[in-house]
């Protein structure tokens, strides 16, 4: 009787601890998301400078009758310089360099791409929105402070005065940064995109799926339907469970040592990355497959066996189809895990600077997480927002994959 107050107090205290724990974890997740979104959202827009572009024959090696191929091969560097000179009068050599630096280094590419689509503008003047350099972009977005001593800024006072002048003329604009979704990596943050990494991850995951799913399914069917329980089965079971807990970098080392070292497979390619991720995902898939096979009621097996079906017929006509939703769910979750793994990619070299979009599993590539890692290591200020934007995309893919898994589980639930 006397200790009831004490007990109730303890009750309230533990309830409070629990609520505090939930609150803190939610707080951290919210803060993380907030940080990523505020930092990363800038990457989806890029600053532009409006300029009058005269397609001046003097500075061009091609004309409106040139073929696409010729145009693609020709240089637009001189034309880009002429645009700077035309739009900013009476620049001396030093000033010219500074003004040119305010535009992206890919100025000429942008002109060429425009000309490819608009050959009729030859010898004409058009207003184009030229992408600004990343340093200018960061100043405009307010990510760089302006009120610090000049030597600590990447944009000097002269360039700032030009920027203010352009602002007054309303020639500074902002446009949706498609390049982020369509380009490969680049040294210049304003042109760097994530598509190469997405394709790299895609090919790696396809290889991973093609490797791990069949092996995992057949291994679990064999273990679950054919082996008799015993010491060896127990040993295999324990080992598979242990493998699922092995840190991913160990599988990375396995990929490096075995695939690249012993089998002489190439470095940096999604094929090797995918196989390495496959080693890592295999135990997860086996565990998921086995538990969904186990969930199929024995009465179904007995029904088929009693009709004179062989064990293999029983398994593949009845048990495996019924277990398939569960195995697919497990596989997708395993794939999602593989998508987020960085360490195995680092070990097999899928962390290099790759500008080209990989066209297949044998082309050099990075993966999404390793691309994020690369950008986070870059010194350029503009890569900070790219890093966060990359994380947002990675999270988006992970959420989509997990959502698919949940939907499959809900949709294809079997009634007995």
């Amino acid at each position: 009787m006397s200790n009831i107050k004490k007990r109730l107090k303890a009750e309230r205290r533990f309830k409070f601890y629990g609520q505090l724990g939930v609150f803190l974890s939610l707080l951290f997740v919210t803060l993380l998301m907030l940080k990523i979104f505020t930092t990363g959202s800038g990457a989806f827009f890029r600053t532009t400078i409006e300029a009058d572009v005269f397609f001046d024959p003097k500075f061009m090696q091609v004309d409106k009758n040139s073929s696409d191929k010729e145009i693609s091969r020709s240089s637009f560097e001189a034309l880009a310089d002429s645009v700077v000179n035309n739009n900013f009068k009476d620049l001396n050599e030093g000033q010219f360099i500074k003004v040119r630096e305010m535009f992206t280094r890919r100025f000429d590419y942008q002109l060429r791409d425009y000309f490819l689509d608009n050959k009729d503008d030859y010898k004409k003047t058009v207003k184009l929105k030229i992408t600004a350099s990343s340093d200018l972009d960061q100043i405009v977005k307010g990510n760089y402070p302006r009120n610090v001593p000049e030597e600590q800024r990447k944009i000097n006072d002269y360039q700032l005065s030009i920027l203010d002048e352009l602002n007054k003329q309303e020639r500074i604009g902002s446009t949706f940064n498609f390049w982020f979704f369509t380009n490969g990596d680049s040294r210049d943050p304003e042109t760097a995109g994530i598509w190469g990494a997405i394709m790299g991850s895609f090919y790696a995951l396809m290889v991973c799926l093609a490797f791990a799913f069949p092996i995992g399914l057949f291994a679990s069917v064999y273990l679950e339907e054919y082996t008799k329980p015993g010491k060896i089965t127990d040993l295999i079971e324990v080992n598979i469970n242990n493998l699922a807990a092995v840190p991913s970098i160990v599988f990375g080392l396995l990929g490096l040592g075995m695939l690249i070292g012993v089998f002489n497979m190439p470095f940096q390619v999604p094929l090797v990355g995918g196989l390495t991720l496959g080693f890592m995902t295999l135990p997860t898939i086996i565990i998921a497959c086995r538990s969904s096979l186990r969930a199929v009621p024995p009465s179904i097996r007995h029904g088929a066996l009693a009709l004179g079906a062989t064990k293999t017929q029983t398994t593949f006509h009845h048990v495996v189809p019924l277990a398939l939703p569960g195995t697919l769910t497990g596989t997708i979750i395993g794939m999602a895990q593989a998508l987020g793994e960085t360490a195995p990619l680092l070990m097999v070299g899928m962390v290099a600077f790759v500008m080209e979009i990989p066209g297949g599993p044998l082309d050099p590539a990075t993966g999404l997480p390793s691309q994020i890692y690369l950008w986070s290591e870059s010194a350029e200020r503009g890569f900070i927002e790219k890093t966060s934007a990359g994380i947002m995309l990675l999270l988006l893919f992970l959420i989509l994959m997990n959502l698919t898994a949940v939907l499959i589980r809900r949709k294809v639930e079997v009634k007995w």
């Binding site: 066996l305 009693a306 004179g308 006509h317 019924l322």
Partner: protein, 257 residues
């Protein structure tokens, strides 16, 4: 005595062990052709275990050891090594305690057996066989418009009749039924019992049941099991009116079990 040819299955010296535990102790029981034999007895008496020996379903259980002679049609030893278990089960079908239709269409459920055994040679032949089997199981009129519906949507009694249709689709000689009505309501039970009475024209039926009234209604022969021993067997009318053994009498009058 009865002519040997009139027995669909004869068993002798049957012992079954689960690990070290004896489940069936020296049972000898013969099953007359085209008749219904019921196996009765209290829970755990071994009647289901014995039934499962007859189509070798006990082979699935690793710890289960079956000894004894099981002779079908006076010639075939069903535990012979060179007899594929699949062929045996084609001849001896089984209906389980809980209806266990495959979660596929009604049609697929019945067509599965003929398909794997290659009984039919054409699609129309298969269609006819499915129709005929459903008809014989007394289910056809209820499901003829929805053969493609999933079988698990049927009621319990319909599911069990579907399982019977599935079992007879491959034209077995013997049908084993393991308490086929224990999960069903009285109306569904009555339908199954009527069905058993019709089926015995063409098949030998061995049924395990907990219901003594059911045994007396459907079977011509009854065997009483207790603790792994076959206590008494004989004509159903005799077992239920003047059994030879005290134990049998106690059981059928409800004094134990």
């Amino acid at each position: 005595m009865v002519d040997n040819n009139n027995f669909a299955l004869k068993t002798n010296n049957v012992y079954v062990h689960y690990g070290n535990k004896m489940a069936i102790n020296n049972v000898a029981l013969d099953f007359p052709k085209n008749e219904v034999t019921s196996l009765i007895g209290p829970s755990g008496c071994g009647k289901s275990t014995f039934l499962r020996c007859l189509n070798r379903m006990n082979d699935v259980i690793d710890s289960c050891k079956v000894e004894g002679s099981f002779i079908m049609n006076n010639t075939i030893d069903i535990y012979r090594d060179d007899l594929p278990i699949e062929n045996l089960r084609e001849k001896i079908g089984m209906v389980f305690q809980k209806p266990n239709p495959f979660p596929k269409s009604i049609y697929e459920n019945v067509a599965y057996g003929p398909k794997i055994h290659g009984v039919t040679s054409s699609q129309s032949e298969l269609d006819d066989l499915v129709k005929e089997s459903l008809h014989r199981a007394g289910l056809y009129d209820e499901v003829k418009d929805r053969l493609t519906d999933v079988a698990t949507g049927l009621s319990g009694g319909q599911q069990q009749r579907l399982c019977i249709a599935r079992a007879i689709s491959i034209k077995p000689e013997i049908i084993l039924m393991d308490e086929p009505c224990s999960a069903l309501d009285p109306i569904a039970t009555a339908k199954i019992e009527d069905l058993i009475n019709e089926l015995k024209e063409n098949y030998t039926i061995i049924i395990v049941t907990h219901s003594m009234s059911q045994a007396s209604r459907v079977s011509t022969k009854t065997a009483f099991f207790h603790l792994g021993n076959l206590i008494e067997e004989g004509d159903t009318s005799k077992i239920f009116t003047k059994p030879d053994k005290e134990q049998t009498n106690d059981y059928i009058t409800g004094r134990f079990g």
